[in-house]
């Protein structure tokens, strides 16, 4: 069975952004998660970055009922 490579905080730091963005490879995720089990500081960093990302995600606007671009809409409808 393939075991995950042990990584230190410096290596973990490089993997955190992609991990929080859910863009890291399975192998990188597993290595990082293993490190997080024993490193409180990196664990806190990941929690913080996730929290910040969630706040930014919450800024997504809802323009479904906006009255913008009426002229453009009319132009397209008349095509």
């Amino acid at each position: 069975m393939k075991t995950n490579r042990e990584i230190d905080c410096r290596e973990a730091l490089k993997l955190i952004a992609a991990y929080v963005d859910q863009q890291s490879t399975k192998s990188d995720s597993k290595s990082l998660e293993k490190h997080l089990e024993s490193c409180r500081h990196c664990f806190d960093r990941v929690e913080f970055e996730k929290m910040l990302k969630n706040r930014l995600k919450g800024l997504k606007l809802d323009t479904s009922s906006s009255e913008m671009s009426t002229e453009v809409r009319r132009f397209l409808e008349d095509l």
């Binding site: 930014l56 995600k57 606007l61 323009t63 906006s66 002229e71 397209l76």
Partner: protein
């Protein structure tokens, strides 16, 4: 807007309408997130649609129409609003040495206080508008990539396709943009008195006790 694209046949115009019209809401939303002004957004969307009509014959894969339209929109946004200063900053992209990265976590966390997470407490003090203001202070390239990744939730591959840049460049630009954003959030936290310019207030106390 100007008269419909006369160079297209009735069938092509129908296709153009059926492709762009359902995506107009996405263009408006991303446009408003980038410009933060309904008037500027309307102008940006109108310019995007005009360009899309002009270049419609170049769109081969219609399943990628959304990415294609967003690419036109973000290109229009960046070229329209970016300042001379921004153009100079962009050259960093290919530079061999990355500028030092700023991390809000590094500034605020206090490993010595194992019972609390002061960095998380500071984040809860920000209201949505604080984040919007901070994003609005970023240059156009950085603002675009933060909005695409963190607000809109696109993957690195999708952003690479939208912005027409390699995935590695997405990663490096995103890292730099987040560093800039966190620095602006930190400055705001200092202005609001949530942290001292040496970190959270508790840090000062810890230092004094040493």
């Amino acid at each position: 807007m100007e008269a419909p694209c006369t160079k297209y046949s009735p069938e092509e115009r129908k296709q153009l309408k059926e492709t762009i019209l359902p995506l107009l809401g996405d263009l408006e939303r991303v446009g408003l997130e980038l410009c933060r002004s309904p008037q500027q957004t309307e102008e940006l969307v109108a310019e995007t649609v005009a360009k899309a009509c002009e270049k419609f014959h170049t769109l081969r894969d219609h399943s990628k129409a959304k990415q294609w339209l967003l690419r036109i929109l973000t290109n229009q946004f960046i070229s329209k609003y970016r300042s001379k200063k921004t153009r100079r900053e962009i050259t960093y992209d290919e530079a061999s040495e990355e500028p030092e990265q700023f991390s809000l976590f590094d500034e605020l966390s206090q490993p010595v206080f194992w019972w609390g997470n002061p960095e998380q407490e500071v984040i809860t003090k920000f209201v949505d508008n604080d984040f919007r203001e901070a994003i609005g202070l970023l240059n156009e390239e950085s603002r675009t990539i933060v909005i695409m990744c963190d607000v809109e939730g696109y993957s690195y591959d999708e952003i690479a396709s939208i912005m027409d840049i390699p995935v590695g460049t997405v990663r490096s630009r995103l890292s730099r943009a987040r560093s800039e954003l966190q620095k602006k959030l930190y400055n705001h936290a200092i202005d609001m008195g949530w942290v001292s310019n040496r970190g959270v207030e508790q840090r000062t106390t810890a230092d004094e006790n040493e």
